[in-house]
Symmetry: C2
Subunit: 438 residues, 2 copies
């Protein structure tokens, strides 16, 4: 992609409305623009990152045996009356009357809808287990939306729902999501720690939050330092027993400020880490809370109707864009982990209009792209300083700097955005190095 | 994917609420379930098809130079007051009050929002042309939703918006979308004919509908028979002059019933084809209709502010699922074109539990998948008749039938869903043939 064509409205100044670094950088890097309070437009750069994140989430959900569906954003209020949440859910639920004056709402979550799908389409325990997920937009009418996409009103979420015949198998479904979440966040270059949590309005007896550590995180968290170094499970057999993995991760102290117990924590002594965190995922086991009132029954092995055991499992997909930036930035801008970067490589043409530079850039662009990497080439008619600043700001993992002196010698400069390391290389060597690094 | 795990609630009987064949087959094949009038849940099989279609649309939009963004579903009413459409748009617009009593709406279209993005972020003609698109959900509160996903209330659409400095360049943007649409629908195995259209509530001076021909189509259309045989453009240079392609396609008679002119049509004589059609795309050129009132200006080459020329370009992505079925089915069920099929191959295990059959199916499943094809293996404990019927119903392009007699001889049966042709082949030959065909 040539930057002269790409829609990338970067800003030099810090926008005054942005209080936190990810919000500032997302506005400055031309990733999003506010439509109205808590509601955002995703511009091309932001859209690419959001899709990369969604695809990692999707891939790990599929590996864990969940199946993708799409439920509507606009729901009938009737189901929520059946579950008892229509009146319980406060003003955060956007309530709507359609033209026939029926009670509708913009789904803040989908337990009712998915339970309704289940009860009309699954009849026997032999069809279990099932885990259905979607990656879709939700709306919560926050009274004071803030922090950009971190606490918006319209946001993208992955929500999965598991259905099992008994408690044990339902716990296995919970463990599958627990392990999938460890892997999902690690693939985005994040350190996410599962912490025991309250289950709030979703309900249930067992619940974990996944908290990403970032110096600029929204809240204080405490955990055993072993958790910071723990490698995430590889080559997981999701059919096998996952309890040992879950037990391992939950055997160390880890708590959000709400749940923090200074007495228990004190026993860890010097191993206790106090840090800042951002919630990016939340998993719930709630048994029959929805299946009982909504009569989501199947015929069990004994021939009798029985309500299924359920869990639900959320990941804040649009929130992750902010969380990744909170955990990956410096004074100059964003530093994308390669797996979610909007482009892998940025080429800076220091002298647009110079035939040798233009040719070298075109050749690099084509060769790198042929090797399967996404490239953004800054071919704008701008000063070198503007190009350097914008490229650092948007945070692509690698920069290739092409100037007339180097091109005359047959070399270009390769810069690693994270380390700042620079080296002069021949064009062929750059292409090889980038391909190997990817 | 093993069918014993896949969430595929097929129905034997025709659902009484479905009036048209695509609606019947989508319900029977377990692709969708109605949530409430005109609002659907997409189950795993339907979700896979919808995503395949969206990806073809996305790919062709990118090739034509459009850039993907995501605009919110919930919009502020203020912008619509500015454009003058807030009062004009009738009860089809879902109007909402948020908790602060502000006028919001669920976007039925996005001209206002995208024009608002443009005016705050593009300043000079040097940043043009721009074409921004999204693939996102929309809501139109139809008074009588019907025909399943063909006329639903919540639906998935691709909408693109072009911005240019003058009429000529704006016409080029229109031509780019015209050609991209020809290619998009052809890739889905559809014959789509562009027909001159009224521009309705979007407005403007130039507009074409793209109509898919299907015997069961919703309305009568008339066109010159040359259009039915015309190959779509290959290897398009979207920077070059596209007017000859557009002129070629628009030089033949083609009209929907509304626009049909029996006198003009009579002159074509025996070359006139009368058929049934389904609208799947609509492109509009409307000049300054939104940029003028909303002050979407740029500095022109002469240094003066000037309102930009715009167009908008829609494709009904969820509607296409229905349209493709209307154009591709028989009495036994759906017949997917390979490019949008939810799986490429279905394996039917005629004797689940028989070690030789189970092993053969597992081996085929693995080998076909390794070659990059999606496979659904019917390993359920069901009668052969049920498996044959379900496999025909869901319409995968290829079926591999594995029975004990064949396996003993080292052969399986390969069936082409569209032609019905069957042949006995060795397992290796089947794997090779499927890979070559894909």
């Amino acid at each position: 992609m040539r930057l002269s064509r790409f829609f990338l409205p970067t800003l030099k100044e810090n926008p005054s409305e942005a209080q936190i670094v990810s919000h500032r950088l997302m506005l400055r890097a031309g990733m999003v623009r506010q439509h109205t309070a808590g509601i955002y437009n995703w511009l091309p750069l932001g859209t690419r990152v959001l899709q990369n994140i969604a695809n990692i989430v999707r891939d790990e959900q599929n590996c864990a045996g969940a199946q993708e569906i799409i439920m509507p954003t606009i729901q009938s209020g009737e189901l929520w009356k059946e579950s008892g949440r229509y009146d319980d859910y406060g003003p955060e639920m956007l309530r709507i009357k359609d033209r026939h004056d029926r009670d509708m709402l913009y789904g803040p979550t989908h337990e009712e809808v998915v339970t309704d799908i289940f009860r009309y389409n699954v009849k026997s325990y032999r069809e279990l287990p099932k885990n259905l997920y979607q990656i879709h937009w939700k709306f919560r009418d926050e009274v004071r939306p803030r922090f950009g996409v971190m606490r918006g009103r319209e946001f993208l979420m992955k929500d999965a729902y598991s259905f099992d015949i008994d408690y044990e198998r339902s716990k296995h479904a919970y463990n599958q999501m627990f392990v999938a979440y460890l892997r999902t966040f690690a693939r985005m270059g994040l350190k996410a720690i599962p912490m025991k949590a309250d289950s709030g309005p979703i309900g249930g007896d067992l619940s974990h939050e996944f908290i990403v550590l970032a110096e600029t995180g929204e809240s204080a968290v405490f955990c055993h330092k072993t958790l910071l170094e723990k490698p995430v499970p590889e080559n997981v057999n999701y059919e096998g027993d996952l309890q040992p993995i879950v037990d391992d991760w939950t055997s160390y102290y880890a708590a959000t400020e709400e749940k923090h117990d200074p007495v228990a924590a004190a026993q860890i002594g010097g191993e206790l880490v106090s840090a800042r965190g951002i919630e990016v995922g939340h998993i719930f086991h709630f048994g029959k809370k929805y299946s009982d009132p909504m009569k989501a029954n199947v015929i069990g092995p004994d021939g009798n109707q029985t309500a299924v055991f359920m869990g639900s499992y959320g990941i804040g997909v649009s929130r992750l864009v902010g969380a990744i930036i909170e955990a990956n930035h410096d004074d100059a801008g964003i530093i994308w982990p390669a797996s979610v970067a909007p482009f892998h490589v940025g080429i800076i043409n220091l002298k647009t209009g110079d035939t040798a530079c233009d040719d070298a850039c075109a050749k690099l662009h084509k060769a790198i792209k042929l090797n399967g990497l996404d490239v953004l080439c800054d071919d704008r008619d701008e000063r070198a300083g503007v190009k350097f600043a914008d490229m650092d700001l948007i945070g692509l993992p690698w920069q290739v700097i092409v100037g007339p002196k180097g091109v005359a010698k047959g070399v270009v400069e390769l810069k690693n955005r994270r380390t700042g390391a620079r080296e002069e290389l021949s064009m062929d060597a750059v292409i090889t190095k980038l391909t190997v690094a990817a």
